[in-house]
Amino acid sequence: MANNYLTSESKKLATWYFTFAAILFGAQLLFGLVAAIQYVMPGFLFEILDFSVARTVHINALVIWMVFAMMGSVYWLLPDETGIETVGIGLGKLFYWVFVAAIVVVVLVYLFVQVGPADQTTIWFIMEGREYLEAPRWADIGIVVVVLGFIYNLYATGMKGKRTGIVTVLMADMLAFAGIYLAGMGYTDNISVDQFWWWWVIHLWVEATWEVFVGAIAAYGLIHMIGAHRKVVEMWLWIEVAMLFGSGILGIGHHYFWIGTPEYWWEIGALFSALEPLPLVAMFIHVLYDWGKQQGAQEAQGKEVSVVTNKPAFTWFVLQAFGNFLGAGVWGFFHTFPQVNLYTHGTQFTSAHGHLAFFGAYATILIGMFYIAVQNKNGIKVMKATKKSIWATCMIFGGVLGMTVALTLAGYVQVLVSRAQMGATWAGYFDGQAGIWFAQGMDWRLIMGVVTFIGFIILIKDLLSIGSATHHER
């Protein structure tokens, strides 16, 4: 990576975001391994780095690396889409460092302070203790300020330069993404009200605004990597927005089955969220269809070379289309009906879905963006795969798929024994955990977690070295 071919400041800033995102991705996997080991060997790091701490870092690093990579992706594509340099790069750079520093402090407090006394000081400075939104309130406020700066840059650039369909979608989507975060910042004594607003953030992020975000990124990728026609891609994007928001916004109902909220949420949650896989199927078909169409058009002209200008990145984009459908769509559909969810809610089933959905829908496409950045930073016209990039792709995708299958099987025994037969008591819970399928499932999850982690190390090596490989077209 000796030569930096990037001339846009916005793209340079994007590579900073991608770099920190990749580091946090590593932290996510590492702490996930700690938690996976604790399922198999319960004494591991007991009262030093307990499961709750490892899991907090595991899921927070997940969310934050994705937010970083998403912001990086926007800074990356803005100059291409709008035709101008991003407005407010200085602010973007300043806030980047503020954000990084805040995250380092939050993680150090998670690791070394862990818990606090039951008072508001803990909520402000140590931990809010709400899954995914554990970050203390000072960090919440910091995140809001940083994201507002990011939104300002996006809007200022979008209004000054050319406003394509992709930019329009991103502008609306990112504003909703930031605004929804505010719903999760309050404190209440009432656990039902607490979880009601908590889901506003979690659900409306990952099943609405983030999904639309990846739709926009996929559209950008199709235009830039296989030369798809903008008008067609943007029409698809609008259809996807309609279907994703149409099903996703009221699909929040599937989180309101059992938290004290009225029974009518059964109906709303069941059917709206049952339709959530539809746009994901559409996105998958759309990516493959455009690819085939572009390749066919080129071959009709007698050119027998691939239309893909970045093999590893495009591989990850296709895996995203498939993984999103499989992880978020199929695995989500498994347990979205209240009749089923009554027994699967709060079991390893949820965990299986969480692993494949977060990975399939978001990790994949963001890794693809890393490769696009590497390609352009090294001034490569057509980037080919290396042995490392193929190994990394197979091991990471195979590893996560393996973890998902293992967790699903563990979830089956939990649903049958702990829930259906034993009625969810303490004894029922541990009877389920003692089941042979459960125990073996946890062993396999750990093994597949290690596979994923090795794949990640190869991925990082590849990202650092693929630019200097000699078989690319420059």
């Binding site: 149409g246 009221l250 029974e263 009518y264 109906e267 709303i268 059917l271 709206f272």
Partner: protein, 51 residues
């Protein structure tokens, strides 16, 4: 004709929940149906542009 109300607190949405699918079909319909008017308007616009 109407199902007796069973939930804890009576409400408009609870009342629409008359049995399998009534509430959700109602909501889907009110969301999707107005697309018909958008379709009509856009069709008129396209015809005008061509004509």
């Amino acid at each position: 004709m109407f199902e007796p109300f069973t939930d804890v607190v009576p409400s408009f949405f609870g009342w629409l929940n008359q049995g399998p699918m009534t509430l959700t079909l109602f909501l889907h319909t009110v969301i999707v149906l107005p697309m018909y008017f958008i379709y009509k308007q856009e069709k008129a616009r396209l015809e005008q542009e061509e004509g």
